[in-house]
């Protein structure tokens, strides 16, 4: 990369292992705060399991609420991992190096959190096992494969398995490094986890092949996961959900929120672990360009969704869209459009703003608020006005239990990421070094031209 400062391998080791080997005070402060959020969630979940779904705001027409919104949201966030690592690895985008691991790990943790919300959603978590793991072999009752809710766990578990393999394979050389730098029980743990990595030529070759193979294999999963999540809605008979563009529209939305979340994560990591030499403005610059395109694509799909309903005037769907476009939902709708397109896209168009990290962090947060609202607007108003002939329209307002559990989900992902950063290096050290080795500078007259030389 153009602005890569000259760093010796020893310096890189020291900088990137710092978060693992040293524990500053702010780590504990953050840990306590996030554990508080998780504790709040555990309390709310206890109430939910004890008293049943009555403690939520769900009611007769609105059977799905914050839990499903949050599920879709976190599955969306999880798309960042593959977007960043698999696609950028396959296209050899050099700027991916410092962000791949954080993005992949976020994929794993947000998928776990999303799965948790499906379990909470049923209100009786112990029964949910029966859904994903068909244990009733004796009576021959298997999950009904016609149900999108059976495709869901299949897609999510495939994605989760792939992502965990992805993270782990890329961790092995760094675990070996951590083994060499630690003593005592930690040395034994890292030594076991690194599977006897010695760094010889054959092992490197295998690792590279694994990385490429996993990237290629996980790409179809990446497209399918959010398509399948969208089919939970698209395959139903509910006007406003039974929309044909949902699959690509959801995938684009997922990439938008996920990559924006990676920006936020990068900004936080950069200041928390003092990684100024590794996560540089140019990385934000590149991601900003990517996001500008994705946000416009999302805007196009949303425009189609609204316009199809308004122009076709199919009675039931029109009713839903009318509710979505009238107060109070109109305000949320406008906020969403502003958050997702009108505010961030102009910012991302300017190089000066793309390289300004506080502004990029702000746009990332704004986009995620917008994307959460998008899922809200898809799920809630639609259920409120389900089929205009029927006599059961209603309202929905989330209860404190649901709100606490949404807060918990952010705390949970944050806590898991923090603990991960304590145990494993958050920036792939070997990839960083690889980038340094490949870096060359050519002189053409007076011009110095930075370049990457690959074997």
């Amino acid at each position: 990369m153009h602005e890569r400062p000259r760093l010796t391998p020893i310096q890189i080791n020291r900088d990137l292992l710092r978060s693992v080997l040293e524990t500053p005070l702010r780590f504990y402060v953050l840990l306590l705060f996030l554990m508080g959020l998780v504790g709040l969630g555990v309390f709310a979940a206890t109430l939910l399991v004890t008293y049943g779904l009555g403690v939520t705001g769900l009611n007769h027409p609105v059977f799905w609420g914050f839990f499903i919104i949050n599920f879709v949201f976190w599955v969306g966030i999880s798309h960042a991992g593959t977007m960043i690592s698999a696609i950028l690895r396959l296209t050899s985008a050099e700027w991916r190096r410092p962000v791949v691991r954080a993005a992949e790990v976020m994929t794993v943790f947000s998928l776990l959190t999303a799965a948790l919300f499906v379990v909470l959603h049923t209100g009786r978590p112990w029964r949910t096992l029966y859904w994903a793991f068909p244990y009733d072999f004796v009576r021959g009752i298997w999950p009904d494969v016609r149900s999108p809710l059976v495709w869901d766990p299949s897609a999510i578990f495939t994605y989760l398995t792939g992502s965990i393999l992805f993270v782990y394979a890329a961790l092995i050389p760094d675990l070996a490094l951590a083994r060499d730098k630690t003593t005592g029980w930690r040395r034994i743990v890292y030594g076991t986890l690194c599977l006897g990595w010695r760094g010889n030529a054959r092992q490197w070759k295998l690792l590279n092949a694994t990385g490429l193979l996993l990237s290629a294999l996980i790409l179809p999963v990446f497209v399918s996961v959010h398509s399948i999540v969208s089919w939970d809605f698209g395959m139903s008979l509910v006007p406003g959900w039974h929309v044909h563009i949902f699959a690509p529209y959801f995938v684009v939305g997922a990439v938008l929120s996920g990559v924006a979340a990676v920006i936020a994560l990068m900004a936080v990591m950069r200041s928390l672990f003092q990684l100024h030499d590794y996560i540089r403005p140019e990385h934000f610059d590149m991601i900003g360009r990517l996001l500008a395109v994705v946000a416009l694509a999302w805007g196009y799909f949303y425009f189609l969704d609204v316009v199809f309903a308004l122009i076709s005037k199919e009675e039931a769907e029109y009713e839903v869209m009318k509710l979505r476009l009238s107060p109070p939902y109109l305000y949320l709708f406008l906020l969403m459009i502003i958050c997702n397109v009108f505010l961030p896209v102009p910012i991302w168009l300017f190089r000066k703003f793309r390289r300004n990290i506080p502004i990029m962090l702000l746009t990332a947060l704004v986009v995620n608020i917008g994307m959460w609202l998008e899922r809200f607007l898809i799920i809630i108003p639609t259920l409120q006005r389900r089929h205009p002939d029927a006599f059961a329209w209603g309202d929905y307002s989330a209860s404190l239990v649901e709100i606490s559990l949404v807060i918990f989900s952010f705390g949970n992902v944050g806590l898991l990421l923090l603990l991960f950063s304590k145990i494993f290096p958050v920036i792939p050290i070997w990839e960083e070094k690889e980038g340094h080795i490949w870096k060359r500078e050519f002189r053409i007259g007076k011009l110095r031209l930075p370049a990457i030389v690959r074997e």
């Binding site: 008293y51 049943g52 779904l53 009555g54 939520t56 769900l58 009611n59 007769h60 027409p61 059977f63 799905w64 959603h121 049923t122 209100g123 009786r124 029964r127 949910t128 029966y130 859904w131 021959g140 009752i141 298997w142 999950p143 009904d144 016609r146 149900s147 999108p148 809710l149 059976v150 939970d232 395959m235 139903s236 008979l237 509910v238 259920l383 389900r386 089929h387 002939d389 029927a390 006599f391 059961a392 209603g394 309202d395």
Partner: protein, 268 residues
């Protein structure tokens, strides 16, 4: 059940392994007075939780059958129209394929059955039901000894987290079947009466086997006034409504009431 799933692939309009039975209901809207006796009977028969004030305000009331009331016309010529609405036992039910655990499926008698023990509470079926006929138990029932006294022993008391809906009083179907079998006889038309049918004072609701051409329900279903609610969705329901015929109907009357063209039709 396995056979049921296979059979459905081929022909959705007929019950699977035809045992010559497809339970259905005919609702003559010309006769309905909106008295709600069916609602009360259903609650008593099927151990439905009491809809106390707070539950109703939470919009979580459970009514397996409800009377939808539509107002028609401008003041002072306002007319109330009633439409009893309950599970339509669709032959092509939207609720069935979305359940991941086969908690709801179509049985051999054309009934859309709900298996409480399998239900895990995804509530997808309820979202997908265009008739709003499915109800979820948000709270655990608080039954004291007095309450237990009036429970129907033939019907399960549902726990929290379970989806429930009209069963066409399947326990009564089974009872009549058993009684006839004891006497080595076939089930006759009129043997089975769900609680709502039994309670209806105006004979609005007629229950019977729609496969049997001679049953009263099948005969009534041939009536010129017959229609099915939201037929455009392709749900192919087993509940057939007979339009209300109103000689004074205005030409702008809504779809549910009889139109001027039907006014001369044969009222039952």
């Amino acid at each position: 059940m396995k056979q049921a799933a296979e059979g459905k692939e081929q022909d959705t309009s007929k019950p699977v392994t035809s045992i010559g039975r497809r339970w259905g209901m005919v609702v003559d809207l010309d006769r309905c007075t909106g008295c709600q006796a069916c609602v009360v009977a259903c609650h008593a028969e099927n151990n439905i939780a009491l809809n106390l004030e707070d539950v109703v305000l939470q919009q979580r009331a459970i009514n397996w059958i409800r009377i939808e009331r539509y107002w028609e016309g401008e003041y002072p010529n306002v007319k109330a129209r009633f439409l009893p609405m309950f599970c339509q036992h669709c032959n092509n039910a939207p609720c069935e394929p979305v359940c991941p655990v086969y908690a709801t499926y179509h049985n051999q008698e054309g009934l859309n059955v709900q298996v409480y023990n399998r239900c895990i509470g995804t509530r997808y079926c309820a979202n997908n039901c265009p008739y709003h006929a499915r109800f979820f138990n948000f709270w655990e029932r608080d039954l004291d000894d007095t309450h237990r006294e009036y429970l129907n022993p033939n019907v399960t008391v549902r726990t929290k987290g379970i989806m429930e809906k009209c069963t066409f009083c399947v326990q009564r179907i089974r009872k009549s079947e058993w009684e006839r079998r004891q006497a080595d006889e076939e089930l006759q038309d009129g043997d089975v009466q769900p609680a709502c049918v039994q309670a209806c004072p105006t004979d609005t609701l007629v229950f019977g086997n729609l496969e049997d051409e001679n049953s009263r329900a099948a005969q009534l279903a041939q009536n010129k006034r017959h229609y099915r609610v939201m037929e455009n969705l392709g749900t192919d329901t087993n509940v057939i409504y007979l339009k209300k015929v109103d000689p004074h109907a205005s030409e702008t009357s809504p779809a549910h009431a009889g139109t001027a063209a039907d006014a001369g039709g044969n009222s039952a």
